[in-house]
């Protein structure tokens, strides 16, 4: 493990940017760990929420952005609901996720791919289509085979239609995505 | 003193020593950074803050004034802030009539422990004043010389004929004099047929000179305090009787010492309106009133005019033509009309239609004409100060001798503020003004706001306490002004 030179690594601009985009004052975090304690994703995180919060406080951009935890966050807001300092921790996590994507620091391609697959389906049909998302995702990542375990039951119960529903306004929806893509680039 | 040009505005704060000044100290101790505009004047209690200090600051060019005291129930002196709350709330409602944006003045409550709240109050108030920008200066505002000319319609029939009960009244007065009354205040004919003048009747002959009619304009209640300690009588119209009631309510005269004679009133005239219908300088020879018509002979010519044309404004909206309180009431009472939907006299109606800046210009124009004769003060039955008026002393030095619009207006504001909650609306101030300046509008603005906030009208109940001399712990009609 490297020794962190705090004076050099400290990136206050980064901290302020996170505060600005998330609308949260991170100086008020006193590292009690209640967010970590209640986080359903904590068991699979490689860096705990409270540690990520501390990294942001210290302006340690890499530590805050380069981790899988951001992508494993379930957005359940338990952390925000229980924070004694009224910090919307989930909003900070979401902000970091967006920043990581912008900076090209995505640490969990599979989840990113799942989201892409999901949004592509919406982009094309106007609605999400589970079988399509699944196929797209598995095609992209060659992963997700664990889900095959439940496929027979889902199919038996006719819970995964083979034909996606497509809306009349799908072009309108597609234009939303198009403008979004243009704006980003 | 110069304000840092462009950076700061002039904001004056009056803070009570115990709560808000301490709250400001607490904010300082916590290094709670605030805008630098505010200058704090320490006072013992928010109840010490005479609203006239606020007016003084605003008239003299402050861009904003803030008063802060202890929270209600928390006053170091038990009740000072309750008085402050009533007076300052009323002041805030009053300000627009002289063209000052009421947002430039605020009052609130901050305790000594509330450093953060104090910071928020200062920051928000300063931001508000900066958003409003520098206050308009009297020097820069264009003066207006137009004035209310509206002739409002009367809500009751007005008349000028001879009163049938006058002989009965005279007899009653003679009887009372015989029983030991020192004298009775009434009216007799003046130097011509349209001018009446007050008289203290002490003999039967003098009683015979008593007149009753449209020229009895003077409110004789004004003389009563002078006779305190002596048994005396007074003849009153309805409006005059309200003055008597208010004097009684404030213990300025005593009920045992004054005997009140009343008759139903059918309205009085505005002399300027009559004179305007006659050739300038024409000598008035006689005047006969029949029904609602006056026939005046002047310079050998006859002029006819109706009460609808020449009656005083206050008579047109009068709902109390009969004495509110009396010992002797002769003749039939005049029918009392329902209260009008709009009780504003022309002065206030005119002002209400103007913008804030136009109102400033209006008062500037009016006050340029004021000759500071203080006839308005002399005619006012509710002025208790008499020879001790603050405008005639340097101690305290509320007004200076400078002949400026601000000084003259400030005198009017002192008078209006002293009358707040006590003025019975007899409009004698305005009638007495030799320059015909509509000063009553200031008092009526206070009056209507007192009606709005305290549902109180002066001069109706001898047992009532004027609202600014009392308080309630909970004031349901005053909402808290929370700046934090």
């Amino acid at each position: 493990m490297n020794i962190t030179r705090l004076d050099k690594a400290k990136d206050l601009k980064f901290k302020h940017q996170v505060e600005e985009e998330s609308g949260q004052n991170l100086s008020t975090c006193y590292q009690c760990g209640k967010c970590t304690a209640g986080c359903p994703g904590a068991q699979v995180y490689d860096r705990q929420v409270s540690q990520i919060m501390h990294a942001v406080q210290m302006g340690l951009k890499d530590e805050a952005l380069k981790n899988r935890s951001l992508w494993l966050c379930l957005s359940c807001s338990t952390c925000s609901a229980r924070c004694p300092n009224n910090i919307d921790v989930a909003a900070v996590m979401e902000t970091l996720r967006m920043m990581a994507r912008r900076e090209g620091l995505v640490q969990d391609r599979p989840i990113e791919s799942f989201w892409k697959a999901f949004l592509d389906t919406v982009h094309v049909t106007g609605r999400s289509y589970e079988l399509g998302v699944m196929a797209d995702y598995m095609g992209r990542t060659l992963r997700g085979w664990g889900n095959l375990e439940i496929a027979p039951m889902a199919l038996r119960k006719n819970k995964m239609p083979f034909i996606p529903s497509v809306i009349h306004g799908r072009e309108e929806v597609a234009r939303i995505f198009k403008r979004y893509a243009e704006k980003r680039s | 003193m110069s304000v840092l040009a462009g950076k700061e505005l002039r904001i004056v704060g009056f803070l009570c020593n115990w709560c808000s000044y301490g709250g400001a100290d607490t904010a300082g101790t916590a290094r709670a950074v605030q805008p630098t505009d505010l200058r704090i004047i320490r006072v013992p209690c928010s109840g010490r803050v005479n609203p006239l200090f606020v007016l003084k600051a605003l008239i003299n060019g402050a861009d904003g004034v803030l008063v802060s005291g202890c929270h209600p129930r928390d006053c170091h002196y038990s009740a000072g802030n309750y008085y402050a709350r009533r007076r300052l709330e009323l002041l805030k409602e009053f300000l627009p009539v002289i063209g000052i944006n009421p947002d430039r003045f605020e009052y609130t409550w901050v305790s000594a422990s509330e450093g953060q709240r104090w910071k928020d109050v200062v920051t928000n108030f300063t931001n508000r004043i900066h958003a409003l920008g520098p206050a308009p200066r009297w020097e820069d505002v264009p003066a207006r010389y137009d004035r209310p000319e509206e002739l409002i319609e009367s809500i009751r029939p007005l008349g000028c004929g001879e009163h049938p009960a006058l002989p009965e009244l005279k007899q009653a007065i003679k009887d009372a004099l015989a029983e030991g009354l020192e004298g009775v205040l009434g009216w007799k004919n003046g130097f011509d047929a349209v001018h009446a003048e007050p008289v203290l009747m002490t003999t039967p002959e003098e009683v015979d000179s008593l007149i009753w009619g449209p020229f009895n304009v003077h409110n004789l209640a004004v003389y009563l305090p002078k006779y305190k300690g002596r048994k005396i009588g007074v003849v009153v119209k309805g409006c005059d009787s309200k003055g008597v009631v208010e004097l009684l309510a404030e213990n300025l005269i005593s009920r045992e010492e004054v005997k009140i004679f009343g008759m139903g009133c059918n309205g009085t005239v505005s002399l300027p309106r009559i004179l305007a219908k006659l050739p300038e300088g024409a000598k008035i020879e006689s005047c006969v009133g029949r029904g609602n018509k006056l026939t005046i002979t002047a310079g050998g010519q006859e002029y006819e005019m109706t009460m609808a044309e020449v009656a005083q404004d206050k008579c047109r909206l009068c709902t109390k033509p009969n004495a509110v309180v009396s010992d002797v009431f002769v003749g039939n009472p005049t029918t009392e009309p329902e209260a009008p939907a709009d009780g504003r006299l022309p002065g206030l109606r005119f002002l209400d239609a103007l913008s804030l800046e136009e109102r400033m210009g209006y008062w500037k124009g009016q006050m340029e004409r004021c000759i500071a004769c203080h006839a308005c003060r002399g005619a006012c039955p509710m002025c208790v100060c008499r020879d001790h008026c603050v405008s005639d002393t340097r101690d305290p030095a509320w007004v200076t001798q400078e002949d400026t619009v601000q000084q003259k207006l400030f005198f009017q504001l002192i008078h209006a503020q002293h009358l707040a909650g006590r003025c019975t609306g007899c409009t004698e101030c305005e009638r007495a003004c030799p320059m015909d300046i509509p000063v009553f509008a200031l008092k009526q603005q206070f009056g209507r706001m007192i009606q709005k906030i305290f549902s109180y009208g002066a001069g109706l109940d001898v047992n009532a306490t004027p609202p600014l001399l009392t308080y309630q712990v909970e004031e349901p009609t005053i909402k808290e002004h929370d700046l934090a």
Partner: protein
Amino acid sequence: MKIGVFVCHCGSNIEATVDTATVAKIALTYPDVVFAEDTMYTCSEPGQENIVQAIKKHGLDGVVVASCSPRMHEPTFRRTVERAGLNRYMFEMANIREHVSWIGRDREANTNKAAELVRLAVEKLRRNTPLYAKQFDVTKRVLVIGGGVAGIQAALDAADSGIGVVMVERESTIGGKMAKLDKTFPTIDCSSCVLAPKMVDVAQNPNITLYAHSEVESISGFVGNFTVKIRKRATYVDWDKCTGCGTCTEKCPTKNVPDAFNEDISNCRAINIPFPQAIPKKATINPDYCRKIKEGKCGVCAKVCPTGAIVYDMVDEIVEEKVGAIIAATGYDLVDWTVYKEYGGGAYPDVITSLQYERMMSASGPTGGHIHRPSDGMEPKNIVFIQCVGSRDCSIGRPYCSGFCCMYTAKQAIMTKDHLPDSEAFVFYMDIRAPGKMYDEFTRRAQEEYGVEYIRGRVSAIQPTVRPDGKVGYIVRGADTLLGAPVEVDADMVVLAVGVEGSKGAGNLAEKLRISYDHFGFFMESHVKLRPVETNTAGVYLAGVCQGPKDIPASVAQGSAAAAKVMALFSKPKLENDPQVSVVDIKRCVACGKCIQVCPYQAIEEVEIRGQKKAHVIETVCQGCGVCTATCPQGAIQVAHFTDNQLLAEVNALCLS
């Protein structure tokens, strides 16, 4: 008039953001100012001497000091100018620290503002006149509100010095929270063994009048002469007759009354004496439960009472006492922790407060000192202590540290190990706050000698579950932030170290006392460092947790301190008033009586002077609020040093030109 101005650097406190030399230079241009200089520490001995010398050398008639808040040092500098032969009221302060240097960062704006504040002080001082205090009589008795350990200490110290004490206690016994504790840290002394003798002393001291089961109804008057109305709440037992034999309690058939003294973990009877050492040891009927009072049936206690003390139709009684000073010692209550739904919000029987745990561990408590969990009586093995419940938590509006929870949690963990050697104690903490003699050592002992597990992190939730053996368990989900990982304990019982706030009704009492209080119900002291016992209302003092969280030794110390303040106040034969009171100019007064009508103190009377009625101020009753001055239309009544002319001069200085 010759005025001298002294502008203080206050070290760098002011100088850092205010150019004091410039302020002094500008001050020299003000009317009547003949001398001005900036000084390093004006309040220091050389600083004060400098003022004395300047007064003598320049023949000054008055002095302005621009430094900190007058609430801090006005008395100091008044003494200084007096030493130099001036009247102490020929002095004014400009607050350029709290109101300028500490709240603004722009040096130019601050310097300008400071100069203007000096201008205001000069304008005011130019219109000051020498004032002289009047003397008045003082009632040498003190009211102590609250009979916890702080109030007891204050009462005993005052009574010992010969001062009459009136003690008012809301509960039916004195002793407060300390009486409920099992042991005290860091010595593990038995709490009641230490406290009970002091309680007995209160009962036996002839100088102390105790009103238990009573509350302060109203307070009027001022320092030296307060009139206090006390509501003696109905006890339904004639305490003059009650001997405290306890027969009534034994025979009372109503057994389902939540026992408040035992923090509701057990029940008591409808007629009850809270605990064996209660002072006064008298029975009280709880009218919400008594069958006789509620339904008219029963009457057992009246039948069995050997002295015939039971009075079912007793009503509240109001008594009046005259005192010269008041000590508030109303203590605290626990924060309402049931807002924490993630901890069960009060629904889980085995999640209890630290105070309930004290009663459970106390040998005189309902379980006789045996630790059994409430749900099923099982002796717990895993016990989790959660600290900072209701402390340091902005989300429930309690941002402060309650001060003594770290210490009692360590004590309770140690006692747990003592009672149940096989048990495991886990303490979830954020920081261990143990400043105090032998305190840190004590928390170390908990860990080193007793093996208490300290885990650094807050608990997110307590989740009850049923174990395979059918017993209820509580999964405590916390974080170990040092490990950087979520952790869990399957606990049998959870003890919450619940934070404290001002006792219920504190705000209401503060209003009666006319003192400030904060959002949390704590009373505001006059100065947080230098006047922690005084309040801003003369003659009202504070002792114990009612002023802010503190432990027993600190509460006792403040109790003694408050008593000492009262002794100092009463040490003079007469008190002196603050001469900044209202004065009537009889030439201007027209006796309209408006001032009499608005005066909150009935300090103005109507008198006849040479046959004319005039208003007259009773100087020792007037408190100087100035409401009369703001009311008088002629300006005939002026409150000294806050006269119309002084305030007008200040307004004009700011607004004209």
